[in-house]
Assembly symmetry: C2
Homo-oligomer: 362 residues x 2
């Protein structure tokens, strides 16, 4: 087992990474300060993994909420069902919420923990690769609004994260690839050595080799933790984590919610960002080829969905939170392993990238 | 005009107290960092005070939400109407929310600011005495749940508070008295000199003398700010601010939501706490008499509503957030100007207090 500590002063916490962690109660129990524990999961994950968690919590006063599965349930209404249960069970402000599931379960449970009685304890047991490398670090919690994703939320740090690689055995292939997109992102934005390692281990990762997965998760979380520790409130460096996300959000919305997975959209978005960076002369053609090759080997799409044109792209990109005063700010590459956030680029070159991709997809 | 700075390090902010502040745009404008401002008010306060605030915001991109009046609207649903408006207007994460109204408007607007895009700027313009002396300091925001008051919320500090004493001219008498209950509380828990001053100025305050009001608001906020600065997350000292509140919550619920004002219930609750403190031998009979006299002179009730018996009281008190592991913790008096939080008292003596008050009320 690997242990990574996210350094946030008094709110520092460990991420445990490895096999069979769900069956080790001694990992979970010391991080529960009170007697009351509510496990929040969903109807897909609970049948697979709730039992060992339940066993690990023996002796605590426990309750469970099983949410429906899917991003469309990441709403204030679903959040309220967690509050209903907490209050029915008379859970007090010393209670702990445990999120057992992917990103949706983690985000909504974290937001419930951030706001129940103005904040209670929170533990994450992410069961998808994406959640293990993304939601484990950063403290972002929240729900969607009909007019925008993640528009309602709070920063709330967990007391511990258990990333059990065994849970990835039941992940479907698309979900695995979507998680790998975020893993590749960490290499691209700030860790060239990790990118090299990923190029050599893509096959192991696609074959779900546990040691390769644990290594990829640890190095991803370490990269994210370094960014977040330096910049907890996303003023500067943290924005680099959005590589591929502005293009990606446009793709997700353009394709219709839920048609593309977030990680798939981010994958294609990173390739678009690499293309724009090349057109700006910031990276070479060979760099863009490397980006395309690793994404492809990871089972990720390189092109946006059919039917999107550059104007639609620009319109959807402008809704993104990264837009300040009307200018589109993007994360672009200066090299493999080095990204910048900038609105200093010729809009005509952005349009050239969009036209090239939209015609390739058409 | 008086200016009090609440010292919270990087999140320190000023409270301006005095007459005609709403008509001084230079107080409000420097505290708005972006271009977008949403004013949230209610249907009673907006017709009285929205116009000068609107005038002060000339040149900003503004929007308004007018909520229905009343504690029964302090819900997640109402909160969502604020999010709807923010997103319809495409307000971004640099926007500022201004709460113009009493405690309900302040709490719900503050919670919207805490959670819109994971936190935006917040300014408070409290228009009731209670909100001026209570919600101005402490950063508590939130909404109610059908199963409990203030069960959903967050800590979120404002960038500035404008307490315009002119807005108290339109306050009805019961609301004024309810606000005075919280003012008296600060004297009782930690400021004997302020309590003495209040005894000498109760008549001025009841007559809404602007200088007396400004003095009472400033000294109340200063006391609360000292407590909060020392203990932002309510671990220790901050609990003293709950003098009268555990009895008070029981009264509010027992009487039926909205029949008693919060401040009225706290007033009677403080008198009950004084009675229990006297029975425990911690304060003298003369002290309890002084407490009763100032509450009465401030137009506050000394007795709980008819029809409540000690068992009902205990049951309702046990639901309160201050209960840890089944023991009722209360704020009690060691002297006028000195309170303690304790569960170290004989339950039989608590019962004696409850019996005495319930039979007096019957």
């Amino acid at each position: 087992m690997k242990t990574l500590t996210v350094d946030l002063g008094k709110r520092s916490y460990p991420i445990y990474i490895g096999r069979g962690l769900l069956r080790q109660p001694e990992l979970l129990r010391p991080h529960i300060p009170g007697r009351q524990v509510m496990v929040v999961s969903n109807e897909v994950v609970a049948p697979l993994y709730l039992e060992p968690v339940r066993a690990a919590l023996e002796g605590f006063e426990t309750a469970e909420v099983i949410l429906p599965d899917g991003e469309q349930y990441k709403t204030l209404d679903t959040l309220n069902t967690i509050f209903d249960r907490l209050l029915e069970k008379r859970f007090n402000r010393t209670c702990t919420l445990v999120a057992l599931g992917g990103g949706v379960v983690g985000d909504i449970t974290g937001f419930a923990a951030a706001t129940y009685q103005r904040g209670v304890h929170f533990i994450q047991i992410p069961t998808t690769l994406l959640a293990q490398v993304d939601s484990s670090v950063g403290g972002k919690t929240g729900v969607n609004h009909p007019l925008g994703k993640n528009m309602i939320g709070a920063f709330h740090q967990p007391r511990a994260v258990l990333a059990d690689t065994d849970t990835l055995d039941t992940l479907d292939d698309r979900q695995l690839s979507a998680g790998l997109a975020e893993v590749i992102k960490y290499g691209l934005i700030r860790d060239a050595a990790f990118f090299d390692w990923l190029e050599r281990h893509t096959v192991d990762l696609m074959n779900r080799h546990p040691e390769a997965l644990a290594e990829a998760i640890e190095r991803s979380c370490r990269n994210k933790a370094e960014v977040v520790a330096a910049d907890e409130r996303e003023a500067g460096q943290r924005a680099l984590l959005n590589l591929g996300h502005t293009f990606g959000h446009a793709i997700e919305t353009g394709a219709g919610y839920g048609v593309w997975l977030h990680g798939e959209a981010v994958g294609a978005g990173m390739y678009m960002a690499a293309d724009l960076s090349r057109r700006l002369g910031w990276i070479g053609n060979d760099d863009q080829v490397r980006v395309g090759r690793i994404l492809e080997a990871s089972g990720l799409p390189l092109e946006p969905p059919r039917g999107m044109d550059p104007d639609r792209f620009l319109e959807l990109m402008a809704v993104d939170k990264k837009v300040l005063d009307g200018r589109i700010r993007l994360v672009l590459l200066k090299a493999i392993g080095e990204a910048v956030v900038t609105d200093q680029f010729d809009p005509a070159i952005l349009r050239a990238t969009l036209e090239s991709f939209c015609s390739a997809a058409a």
